[in-house]
Amino acid sequence: MAGIVSRIALGLAWLGDVATFGLRAIREALRPPFEGFEIVRQVYEVGWRSLPLIAAAGFAVGAVMSMHTRSSLKRFGAEALIPAGLALALIKETGPLVTGLLFSGRVGAGIGAELGAMRVNEQIDALESLAVNSFKYLVVTRVCACVLALPLLTTIMNFTGILGGFVAETVISGMSLGLYWDRAFSMVDFTDYVPATLKTAVFGFIIGTVSAYLGYNTTGGSAGVGQASTRSVVYASILVITSNVVLVKAIFFLFPGAGG
């Protein structure tokens, strides 16, 4: 029992450290000098380079969801609702969550490993020795890039998901793209898209902060780098999934229409 309590205490202390690290990132992001060029470069690294993965995954998820939705709705003779059901499911929950998890796998691991390697190879010390604020240059830029890139990637995941759903549907029923599109967006409202997509900015903050924290504070040589990379994925994914519960509740509270 004492062991469990002590592990919980350690976990909470770790969360406190990560939260402090994240708050420092916010504080330093708002203070000049701003690392605009480096943020743009990081958005390219974490965002643009994730695009093929997100687009391909979105297409596949959309196609599979369409097939499942069809088999369920067919029992009620409601096949006409397939496009709208798929679009709502993708935009409100599946798109943001799947994008967040894929992003934490690809980008979280990358940030953890890159900063970890820079720490053990003294490149972070080298930055400091060159009178560069390494926290601002490495951490703030990556966290900002994650916050900016994830909502955009989520939008692309939603779009390619709906496209995948259309391909699956048209193969079975021969539905035209125009009709599918009309039906898909017939029930989607502004309050379905905006809060759910903005929610992923929080996912981006969590993924960027956790992976940067683990990488920036890496110890223990190459083994430590490997641990930082693995833990970045595991911890960021768990925090994305658990924070999603709170965020969905908050969205329902702030945007009552989104719960409908």
């Binding site: 390697a117 003294e122 020795s129």
Partner: protein, 249 residues
């Protein structure tokens, strides 16, 4: 630096990591324009000492003055200001592996100077030529040898032409010929440009070449300090043994 005749001054510096005390009441000063070598066996606090000079590690007690300015407890802006007047050559070069050689050397110039791209390119070319590596601007650090990486690290450390250069084991891991070439470069800097050198090493021949004065750290204390000849005649048997054991005599 700042016209101060003393480039670096350590005053009663203590440093511990957990229960391990690495430095105990260490005091010394390095005259501006001199070559000062810190010697000692592995784990005696040499690297900690030199990293404290640039504020990468903070002491628990004591004062560290760079060009007359106490850097202990300085905020980030203050430290950055002091670091602009210093260069640091890391033991394993610490080049940014995602940047090319040219971008590594240009990095401090792009961050801290107002030179245009043409001027930066010209200066990078000049610095690389200075360390005998002209024409490798486009290579990545992973594509060059350890000795070349060290030279690129030196070129980067010198990019802003700092009056004080700190070097952590500049010849470690290098063959004797390359190690000697690095020593010659450092010596050249001291003699021709008046750069103050603080060099951590356990290579006695290297220390003899570079150092006007040597300091021997042992178990966190400054055991002896003086010219190479003085250390050879030291009253401490351990100091004399150290100078001999590393092939110094």
């Amino acid at each position: 630096m700042s016209g101060d005749p003393v480039a670096v001054r350590f005053e009663h510096v203590w440093k511990s990591f957990g229960s391990l005390t690495v430095l105990r009441d260490v005091s010394f000063e390095v005259p501006a324009g001199a070559g000062f070598c810190i010697l000692g066996r592995s784990g005696t606090g040499k690297s900690v000492t030199v990293k404290q000079m640039i504020g990468l590690i903070q002491p628990d007690r004591g004062r560290i003055l760079i060009g007359g300015e106490d850097i202990v407890g300085l905020d980030a802006e203050g430290l950055a200001r002091v670091r602009m007047r210093m260069g640091f050559l890391f033991q394993y070069s610490a080049l940014f592996d995602s940047l090319t050689v040219g971008e590594n050397v240009a990095f401090p110039l792009r961050r801290h100077s107002r030179f245009g791209e043409d001027e930066i390119r010209e200066r990078v070319r000049g610095k690389l030529e200075r360390v005998g590596l002209a024409g490798i601007e486009e290579k990545l650090p992973s594509e060059i040898s350890g000795g070349m990486r060290k030279r690129v690290g030196l070129a980067r450390a010198l990019a802003l032409e700092p009056p004080l250069l700190l070097a952590d084991e500049p010849s470690s891991g290098l063959d004797p010929v390359t190690a000697r070439e690095i020593d010659e470069l450092l010596l050249d800097l001291k003699l021709k440009e008046g750069t103050t050198l603080v060099v951590v090493t356990h290579n006695i021949p290297s220390a003899r070449r570079i150092g006007d004065e040597l300091a021997l750290l042992h178990q966190g204390r400054l055991l002896a300090r003086g010219t190479p000849a003085e250390l050879e005649q030291s009253e401490h048997e351990m100091v004399r043994e150290f100078m001999k054991a590393e092939g110094g005599v």
